[in-house]
């Protein structure tokens, strides 16, 4: 087990924890983008360029934009939501 793979696996675990522990949806969007980036690095180190490409396009661009647009539709600046 090389040092690089071990560090990237730990970074992925930390990024996943970061998504769960950011309770505010507006802050969670950046955590999702960070998780996408960490997964992209891990997939590149595991010799999977196609998968890294797909995760980069989806996890850092499409998915946070989707969440952001959903939040705009919901307008969670009311006091009833967290």
């Amino acid at each position: 087990m090389t040092i690089l793979l071990a560090l990237l696996l730990l970074l992925t675990a930390a990024a996943g924890a970061g998504i769960v522990l950011s309770r505010d949806p507006r802050r969670q969007i950046l955590a999702i983008a960070g998780n996408g980036l960490a997964l992209t690095l891990l997939f590149s180190a595991l010799q999977a360029p196609d998968v890294a490409f797909s995760e980069l396009a989806v996890g850092t661009a499409a998915l946070p934009l989707l969440f952001l647009v959903a939040l705009v539709s919901v307008r969670t600046d009311r006091k009833s939501d967290l």
Binding site: D50, V51, F53, S54, V58, V69
Partner: protein
């Protein structure tokens, strides 16, 4: 169930998961040193048989093409569900006209923003097209290229005004793009059966190795998947952004 019961059940299941993880992890094959028979078979048999160099695309569109057809229909169903949920309760008569944006804080776009979008947007769309077309040669394919083109269309929203963006994003074209992509996939599967071959069997000329036009039927399937993914993502973005318009007073 109330909160205490839910948390208790979760704690018990986490104990079971921890125990099971330790048992399974010690019995898993060693990381990186165990035989991969299916992967080795694909890596050695597919390049001379199909004349392509991207094994992942070969597995997606040719060797396990039927699974990708199922995934394609999962995508179509999810997008259809989203559109029905959002458009169905909003009403059809609002979607083809850009609405007046009463009560929405809408600062006009700055010149730098518009210029950046107009420079970068076409470049991103061209790059997405490049990724789609080079499915059989370099890392890429319909799935990745479709998502890149969909994100490029959203970049155009960020840099143009809502009215301008809505003016050139036609729902009908996106519907046709998405449904047409899935239809192309199914027809490309049925066409070999007219010649007596199996469903989705590669009966087209295979081309040269590492050429752009290699792989035969895989190119058509790849194009269909790219259209479906790009249509699906753009449609989902469009439906969510349509939600942000204030409903006009029905006179």
């Amino acid at each position: 169930m109330n909160r205490i019961a839910r948390l208790t059940l979760f704690a018990v299941s986490m104990l079971v998961l921890t125990a099971a993880t330790i048992v399974v992890a010690t019995h898993m094959p060693t990381f990186g040193s165990h035989p991969l028979p299916y992967g080795d078979a694909v890596n050695s048999l597919v390049p001379p048989a199909r004349h392509i160099s991207n094994m992942v695309s070969a597995v997606n569109f040719d060797v396990r093409g039927l699974d990708t057809l199922g995934e394609e229909f999962m995508l179509v169903c999810a997008v259809t569900g989203t559109v029905v949920l959002l458009r169905g309760t909003r009403g059809e008569q609002l979607t083809s006209r850009p609405a007046g944006m009463h009560g929405r804080l809408n600062a006009p776009r700055s010149d730098a923003q518009v210029l950046t979008g107009r420079l970068l947007g076409p470049l991103i769309l061209l790059f997405g097209l490049y990724v789609v077309v080079h499915a059989t040669v370099t890392p890429g394919g319909g799935f990745q290229g479709g998502v890149i083109i969909g994100s490029g269309l959203l970049l155009l929203y960020l840099c143009e005004e809502y009215r301008t963006w809505r003016w050139f994003m036609r729902s009908r074209w996106l519907n046709a793009c998405e449904g047409g992509g899935a239809l192309v996939f199914v027809l490309a599967g049925l066409a070999p059966m007219c010649q007596g071959a199996h469903f989705l069997q590669n009966v087209m000329p295979l081309g040269e190795f590492r050429d752009l036009l290699s792989g035969g039927l895989m190119q058509i399937v790849n194009a269909g998947v790219a259209c479906a993914v790009l249509g699906g993502f753009a449609l989902v973005f469009l439906e969510f952004l349509e939600e942000t318009r204030e409903p006009r007073d029905e006179a």
